[in-house]
Structures are given as structure tokens and as C-alpha cells.
Symmetry: D2
Subunit: 343 residues, 4 copies
């Protein structure tokens, strides 16, 4: 099947990561994380984020978000997020089901929360009739393809902490954000006041595997039980551990994400030459949102699959991936040009 622009998880696994998995295959190892690959992967996270960091590997992004959030909440808490957040829109209610918490979605222009637009939810503290606000959750990269600047994250963390709340980051595409910001992971997470991080791997060339990262180990004291209870404890954990080791080695993650981001920028440049298509969000990572003439959607999808973001206004989302080629970008842009000009 021709590669499309539907999602960065439509791609397979980077060959070097697959190789690392094969290399981890021979022999017996204790299950559930007590193997050298997983232990090595944990060390790598500690090197990146600091010695006192606690790391828990899980299967997927929803699992990571739910485990991180359930570790730091009780059922009577609320979680503030963008109305476009994955935890609000795309997890079929897993956060509510597993944490019992109320999610408070906030309308945004570009997928990014700001202190101003969430202010009205910071109320009802100590009032037993009201779900107690406990977490501000942001996505980095956002679901709209935008990237929080460090000072924006700091402002939200400061606001959270001043209310005895925590800042959670859904980093399903954190590598794309790091490349976009040209910063190390720590600089725009822990150093900006993030408390709990879902660190994604699957969307950037891994087969499966995400990490829940706590910068304050006190927050993680019950996480191991919650991971098991939330069905996210993997028996043959070595295969996630080995991937993460390879992922960090020689900054593999950076090369991968940088390519995806570059492809998005290239596509943006191509699209800007097509007046019938209007890009609706700043292209800051590996996603492009655009208004396209409705008539081109179907024929375009037939050759390069992608998702419609908003049926109402014919807004589409195009995601690039580690294996998107310059040729594919050119072909895709050429097809758009051809389709918009037809009849």
C-alpha cells in the first residue's frame, strides 16, 4: 500500500530498532521489567531527566496517560485539558473510567492551553460539591500540530503549583517537539515544571512502548500497582526496554523526528504555492492542518490516505513520518495541484 499522510503510527518500525529487538530475543530473562534491557532503558531515562526520575514502561499512549493521571489523582479530582486533547477526544473515556475524575475541556485556538483560558476552572477548592482541580494536562506536540514554548509551559506549571495542582504532559510526539524547539527533553519538561510526562515512542519509529515519567518520586509510590491493575504491565518487557535503549542511542529519536518535521516543512512550502488550500495552524512539528476544496478530498485520499479533521469546513490533517520521502511529498503536492485545478 502506498504510504499516505494519515498518521505517524501508520508507519512501521525503524529497522535499527527492529534489530535491537532481535538482539534481545535469545535466552531467558525474568519478566515484567526485571531484565537488563529494561534496566538499561530506565538508566537512560535517568541520564536524560535526572537520577531521581521514576520511569514506568507501558504498552501505548492511552495507557501512559491514564497511568500517569491515576497515579496523581483521586476520583474526586478534575483534570483541565484542551478540548482537542487526546485524553478528551480520542481515548473513549479511559481517563474517566479508570481515574474516576472529571475532565474539564477548554476551547483553544491552536490546541494550546494558557493561564488565561483555564482560569475559570480554578475554583471550588475545598468545596466538597465540586470536583477538586488537581491536574492541568497539555499535549506536546499538541493535537493541532503546534508546540508549546518553554516559557508557556513554565507559566502553566507555575499556575498549577500555586494551586497545589500538577502539570501533566502528554508527550506522544515529544521527540518532534524537542526537534522543533531544538532542546533536550529535560529542558522543556522537568526544567519547566512538568510533574508527570507521557513519553511516547510508538509514533516516532518504535513498534510499541511508551514511558510514564515522574520527576518527583513521591508521586510514583503507587504506580507499579496501578500499572498492573490498568493492564499495562508487559511480561516480556525486554522488548520494550531494548527499543528504548536503541531509541536513545546516537540520538536515533532525533534523526527520526527531525526527518518527519522536515518533511512537514517541505509539504508546507509546497502547499503555500497552492492558493486553493489554506493552512490553518502553524506547522511546528510533523502535522499540517489545512482547508481544502471539498471536491479534492476523495480523489486525493484514494492515492494518499489521510483523515478529515473537520467535516464541516473540509479541514484535513496530514501527518508526516520517519519514512516519508521527499518524493512522496512532491507527488502528493503535485496531485493536490492537479486536483484543485481540474474543471
Amino acid at each position: 500500500m502506498k504510504k499516505g499522510f494519515a498518521s505517524d503510527n501508520n508507519s512501521g518500525v525503524r529497522p535499527d530498532i527492529l534489530k535491537a529487538m532481535e538482539a534481545a530475543n535469545p535466552g531467558h530473562y525474568t519478566g515484567y521489567g526485571n531484565d537488563p534491557f529494561t534496566q538499561k532503558a530506565i538508566s537512560v531515562f535517568k541520564e536524560n531527566f535526572g537520577r531521581e526520575t521514576e520511569v514506568f514502561f507501558v504498552f501505548n499512549g492511552t495507557g501512559a496517560n491514564v497511568l500517569g493521571l491515576s497515579s496523581v489523582t483521586r476520583s474526586f479530582n478534575s483534570i483541565i485539558c484542551a478540548e482537542t486533547a487526546h485524553i478528551q477526544e480520542d481515548e473513549c473515556g479511559a481517563p474517566e473510567k479508570f481515574t474516576g475524575c472529571k475532565l474539564l475541556p477548554v476551547e483553544t485556538k491552536n490546541g494550546k492551553l494558557t493561564p488565561e483560558i483555564i482560569q475559570h476552572h480554578l475554583k471550588g477548592f475545598d468545596f466538597e460539591h465540586h470536583s477538586q482541580p488537581k491536574v492541568i494536562s497539555i499535549s506536546q506536540v499538541t493535537e493541532m500540530g503546534t508546540v508549546y514554548q518553554p516559557e508557556e509551559i513554565k507559566a502553566l506549571a507555575g499556575l498549577a503549583h500555586s494551586h497545589n495542582m500538577l502539570l501533566h504532559m502528554d508527550g506522544a510526539r515529544i521527540a518532534n517537539a524537542a526537534v522543533s524547539l531544538n532542546l533536550g527533553f529535560r529542558e522543556f519538561t522537568k526544567d519547566c515544571g512538568v510533574d508527570v510526562l507521557s513519553f511516547g515512542g510508538t509514533k516516532n519509529g518504535m513498534m510499541m512502548g511508551e514511558a510514564v515519567v515522574f520527576f518527583n518520586p513521591d508521586l510514583a509510590k503507587q504506580t507499579k500497582y496501578l500499572r498492573k491493575q490498568s493492564m499495562q504491565l508487559y511480561s516480556k518487557m525486554r522488548f520494550v526496554g531494548a527499543q528504548f535503549v536503541a531509541y536513545f542511542e546516537n540520538d536515533l529519536w532525533k534523526e527520526t523526528a527531525a526527518h518527519a518535521n522536515k518533511m512537514a516543512k517541505m509539504l508546507e512550502a509546497e502547499i503555500k504555492q497552492i492558493p486553493e488550500v489554506k493552512i490553518t495552524q502553524p506547522v511546528e512539528a510533523n502535522g499540517i492542518f489545512a482547508l481544502v476544496p471539498p471536491k479534492i478530498v476523495k480523489p486525493l485520499q484514494e492515492q494518499f490516505f489521510f483523515y478529515i479533521w473537520n467535516e464541516q469546513n473540509s479541514e484535513v490533517r496530514w501527518m508526516t513520518s520517519f519514512d516519508t520521502t521527499e518524493n512522496e511529498i512532491r507527488e502528493f503536492a503535485a496531485l493536490i495541484k492537479k486536483l484543485v485545478s481540474e474543471k
Copy 2:
């Protein structure tokens, strides 16, 4: 690390299954199961279990059990199981947490439920103060290494159905059971009245991946939502699909499980020659339970790792795997003999 007898999930992946995963890697495919590998795997299940079968792939065994059980229960139901059942002992309360149901553990001699020993729980129907019995859950192979005979399963299914209840089978080691019974999967599941099946792959040479199988599609109408909400929907599902296709091809599963079972039988034969060690359960699949002299546990574990089952009476559990060798069995038995005779 030397291979031990701790668990069949301490082994890696069968090389031919790993190869199938690599073969599935190139190119883009729609995520979450809408790919040809997953679709093919579903077909294979339907071939094995009948056209009307509904199949849902998940990450792990706990996920499979919880998804199957939550599909067929409401929170006010109860689930009857052996007190040794994985859902009772080894899932950190995931079934209670996610289904809301009450688990009713029953003491058994050998891990197997019978109509007699669960009879006293079949009460309180229609009585709103009482959790409503809805599911009888059995493990095949049981956690004690024993295997239900078809007529035993039929009796439990009949009992369940006569009370408007369902029979769930935790088949984490279903391949070992099939080999032990010398039957096809369908013959001791669907054909015996099982309603919901957790079909395991990980413990028999797969990397990860289990299937929840419903023989009556009406029971599965809400399962796709529950799978997502229970954090068990895998984005790059092709890698589970490809494994299951390979697993069924040329009865790979049978070869794998047959070897593991054979190794257990070989170990049994060796052990029977050691009067100081007493096997406590019939060896019907790939697990051996035995009382050993306490003094030998530590030195034995140092060379071949395994778990103590019962600290009180020094009962141990030895599991064989697809990659256990005859040599290892001999070495292990020889070491036991040496250790028991020392001093």
C-alpha cells in the same frame, strides 16, 4: 543468562514468529486493526472457531481477561473462579477495578472448578442485595498445571447456561491444553459451551498479543469500545496480527506447545526418581508443582531460576517452555539429585 524454569514468559520469541513480524514491517498500514495482517489473523480465528466468531486482539493476558469479562457483565454481577485463578491472584484487582464485579473465589484441590464446589455460589438471583452471579471463569491450562477434560467443561457450561450465566475460559496456555488433550481448539471451547475465551499467545512463543474470542457475536457488540477504553487497542496492530498468522501457520503453535509439554513430562520422569521430591499435581501440560527439601531451594535457584509457590510447605513451580532443551532438563534433574543428597 542460563535458562531457568520460572515461567514460560521468560523465554523470548520463536524465531519464525519474529521473522513474520519483520516481514510485516515495510510500508504504511492503517492503524488499530484495519490492516491486512490483522484481517488475515481474524480470518484464521474464524476458520478455527467458526464464521460467526468475533475476535479482538489485545496486548496481554490480563487485558484479555478483563476485556472478555467486562463485555459480558455489568458492575452488579459476580464472577466465580478458582482461588488460584489468575484473575483472582495475579492481576492486582484489574477485574474488580474495570468491571466493578465481585469475584467469588472457590477453594480447589487442583485448580479446577466442578459443579459441586461452586454450587453454593449459585444463589441470590433476582435478589438486589446480592451481586448477581453471571460468569463462571476457568483457566485452561489451570494455574496448577492441570487440564480440564471436555466433559468437565461441558458440565460447567451446562450449569452456567442453566442459570442464565456464561462460561469464560482464561486460555493463557490454551495451546498446551490442546496438545495435552490432543484436540483442536474448538473442540474443548466452543463445542463444550465456552462463551468467552482469552486465547493466549505470549506464553507460547509470541512476543506479545492475546485474543478475546466470543462465540456468540451478540456478546461482543460493545467490545470494541471497551477495548479502547481499557487501553488495549494497539495502534500498530499489524505486529500482533502477523504473529497470530504465523502462529497458526503449519500448526506452529502445536509444535511449540508440544515441545514444552514434552519437556515437562521428561522432567517429571526424572523427578520421580528422586524420592526426596514429591510432585503434588498431575503433570498435564508444561508446569510441574513439587515439594522439595527447603535446603535445596536457594542453591537450585541460583543456577536455574524458578518461583516458590508456597513458602509454608516449600512447594515450588517449574515451568517448561518452547526453548527448554533436553540437556537442560537433564542438568536440572542432576543438580536436584546432587543437592538433595548433600550432607
Copy 3:
């Protein structure tokens, strides 16, 4: 303590209702609803709403809402409501905790939903990543003191049903709505397409007790178990039954609510003569919302207690009750006049 305008639940019990409770006291009766008082109360509901109605008594309003909603949802559903709804703002997350569902709050002008403003949430059907919209929940009277007209309810019911969804009404103040509309209960509930109704008594002169009413008995098949499991099954149920019998007898509810509504109208008339105070919502039942000069809040509260609705703009809420007197209204209005004119 002087009566204030804080809430209609700050009043006690109508003396005739208290008398009915005393009359039910002597003797033994089977618990949990199988007593003649409860049975009679159920009959009265059936007379009002139709033979096929199913009625379940519970302790309080949150219990009623949660029981009604949990009866008709699964955990992967979503529930659309006004952002001011009691289930969203005032139940400390009980609906999420007990149903597992996602609540989708919608901004409104006056506490009332319309088909237009909820339209954007009617999406994602059959898409397993998205919580499945299942219920539209409205409050009648709304938390802003406004009342839905029958045609407005019909429009929402029609929209719900056309999407295979249901309409839930939180009728904590349903008697005040009935009086306001000059309609019988059935005319603006069942006859307008409402599927599940929380029928309140406590805020209109009862001691405790609400009813969950299902107009389609198929929706209530599991409610008795859910009531017990949600801790809402009262052992000495006769004392709720007796209250509801008295409540309906001679239209007691109507007299009570009519008085409360009348007092609100009287207060409105008084307030309209005070230019410094601006009423912000139509006064359609027994609540008045008004912007008052910040300086008068404290001294006014000291004599007649009430709650500030919105700290930001000094909006207050005044509720009248069955036992509010004309004198109290006059005194209260006089005090406001005095306070606004001071200094």
C-alpha cells in the same frame, strides 16, 4: 436563625408531610420498598405518568441522577449537559465515578441546552476512539432558574432519539417547573419525549427522597441492582413512600411550589424598583439571579444568608422556598434598598 435565601433545601419539612411520616411509623413493615406506603407511592407515580412507568426511590438528587444515568449508559458513553448542570458542577464527579462516562459540558446563556449548541458533540458514532454520545441531560428548572418550554424539550428529545440517544431530565425542582408552565408533570416530561427523569421532592418541602422515573420499562431492567450498588436503597423505605403519597395528595406539591414561585415573583417585583441591582436571568421559578453592588453583599448576608454565584461580577442567587413569607420578602427588599443607598 432567620430564614434566608440560600437554598430551598435550607427549609425544613412541610408539616403535613411530617405528619404523614409519623402516621407511617407504628408497626413492622418489610424493608427496602416492599411496604404499603412505598407501593402506594409507586401507584401514584403510575397514575401521573402512565401504567408502564417504572419508579425507584432514592435518598437524594445526586443519587437520582447517577442511578438514572447509570441505568441507561455503559462506561464508554458520553453525556451532554449544560456547563451549569448540577451533574457537571455540583456532584463532585459522582456521575463520572459511578457511570465511567464522559460528561460533555456546553456553554449556555441561561442554563438551557438547544439543538444548535450541542450539535458539535453529536459525532464520533461507531468510532471506537470516541466516547459514544448516549444521553442529553437537561435540568428542569435549570440551575439558572429558567424553565424549558414543552416545545424546547420536544426538540431535544427528537434530536436525541434521531441519534439513538436518550433524554434525561434532572427534575430536582420539577414541581416549580410544573407550576411555572401550568402543566401536569407528564405533559412536559413523558409527553415531550423525556426518557429518564429525576423527580425531586426534597427541595419542595419533603425531608428526603427523590424518584428515578423511567417511561420505558426496558430501560429499568437493571436499575434495582444499580440502586443497591450505588448505596441508594433505603431500608425503612416506608418513610420516603409515605412522604410521596402525601406530596401528591390534594396536589400538595403544587401548593408548595406555587408559593415558592410566587415569592420569587414578588421579590423580582421589589428588586426591579432598585436600579442598583440588575436581574440577570428571567425569573421563571423560585430562583433569582442578580448583579448587586459588591459592598452590600456582606451586610445583606449577615441578616439573610444567600450564596454568591459568581465572585467575579458580584452575581448572587436568591432562592425562595415553601415557607418564605411575604413579610420576609419585604424586609429583604427593604434592606437591599437601604444598603445600596448607604454612603
Copy 4:
């Protein structure tokens, strides 16, 4: 209807308690507990149990148990109880649903746990696959009508605390226990190491209302939110507060429970003269368990209603109440004598 022996909750309300409720009726009071009646009731509890005690009133016994247990557990914990415990048998799974915990029922001879019979559940600490044991829950009076002696409670508390666990007491019939032991409430709860207590009122002459009592205030820090979220926060709380004030005044509770217990003893004495009926449990409070000839059950129930405890062996339960009269006991015993001797 003739008074029977079905349950102590089949009786109404003690007239003096009803009077206290009426006395609390006039006037307005802030809702949800901030009224002088509730505040006075809290003081009374503190006088009985110590200044640092935290008290939360709820509607019913299931609500009390669930609120107490959810305050001190996380979802991955387990709760050890007798297999006859109300939380296991009679709450339709409310504890599992609301706490997410696993209940571990233990077979007992007389409804009472001992350190010996629960020992095998005290395992798996720190092991993430295993629900973490956190609470031992006992009922005082037990569901079998037996009463724990102080030293028995101390032994269980000591065992719990030595494992970093807590002791919960379901005191639905705590007054009957106090009378039976001839001790004050504190002497066999707090002073014996109980951590969390469900203090019952409804079964001993109140209309409704139970209290959750924490002897260590640190355990109660989140209880107010959990009470609201568990639908147990009563708006017109004064009517529970006023009952408890009356209940403690002049040791009303003691008079009430003493009478019920005395009636049970009187019935026991009568029954002992009937060789065809065999009492199966020590009569230590207000319940009698007895094996009766199956033929007498129906005709006996027709005149004095009661419940069959065990269909298998024709064991019945007879409960006496504050309003059971000596005459009723005599009539009942006479009827039994007559029925057993017929034909």
C-alpha cells in the same frame, strides 16, 4: 401488619427520636451539615470517642461501609472479611464498584475472623501482581449474631497494624454489641485498635442515618469529597444530626438495644424447650439462628414473618427489635411448639 422477626429494620422509629426530628423542623438552616443539630451530634461523638475523632454522617449502612473503606484504600488494595460479612454478601458489590478493591472472603464458624483463619491472605506485599492487603473488616455484632470480645478485636488490630494494614468495623448493630459486652462504645473500638468504624443507628430505632468514624484524623482527609461523590451527602442533614443527639441523650441507644437483646434471650430460653428446634449460634445480641423442621417454616412465616438463612438445611434467622414485646415472644414460641407437634 403483625410484627415479625425478619429484621430489626422492619420496625419504625423510636417515638422520642421522631420527636427530636420534629423539634428540629422549624426554620431555615444551612444544608449539608453546617447546622447546629449536626454540629451537636458531632460533638457527642467526640465526647464518646475522643476529641480528635472525625465523624461523617451518611444515609445508610452500605454507604457507611463504602465511605469508610474508600477513604483508606486505593483501588489496588484488598479487604479481608468473613464470607458472611454484609460487605461481601449483602451490598450488591458496592464496595468493589466504588473502591475498586478486591474482597477476600474467609470462611468462619460463627461470623468472626481470627488471626489464624486470615493468615494465608497476608501475603504478596510489595508484589505488584497481587492486590495489596490493606484492611481487615469485621462486623460487630456479626451477621451470625455473635459478638467479638475486646481481646479478639485487639488481636486482629495488632495483626493488621503489624502489616501496615487497618482494622475496619461494620457496626450496623454496634449498640447491641455494647449492651452485650456491657462496655462503652470506645472501649471495644478505638481502645482496641479499630481504625475506621461504621456506626449504625437505623437498626436500633432511628429513621435513617449512620456515621463513619475515624479515630485517626489523617485517614479522613479526603472523606468529605468521597462522601459527596458516593452520593451520601444529605442536604437536610439536621434530621440526621437531631436523631443522633437524641440517640445518645440519656443513653437512649442503650435502653433500645438492651430491650432487643433481652427479647432475643427470652426467645432463646423459650426455644431451648423445644427439642425439634436447634439453635446454631450463641445468642449474644438480638439475633437467633436455628434449625427448624422444614414443615413449620411456611405456616410460621405466615403469622410472624422472618427470613430463611439457609435453604439447604432449613436454618432460619430471627431478629428482635426495640419494639418486640414479651407477649410477641411468647405467642411466637407457642406457635412454634404447636407447629412442630402437629401431625
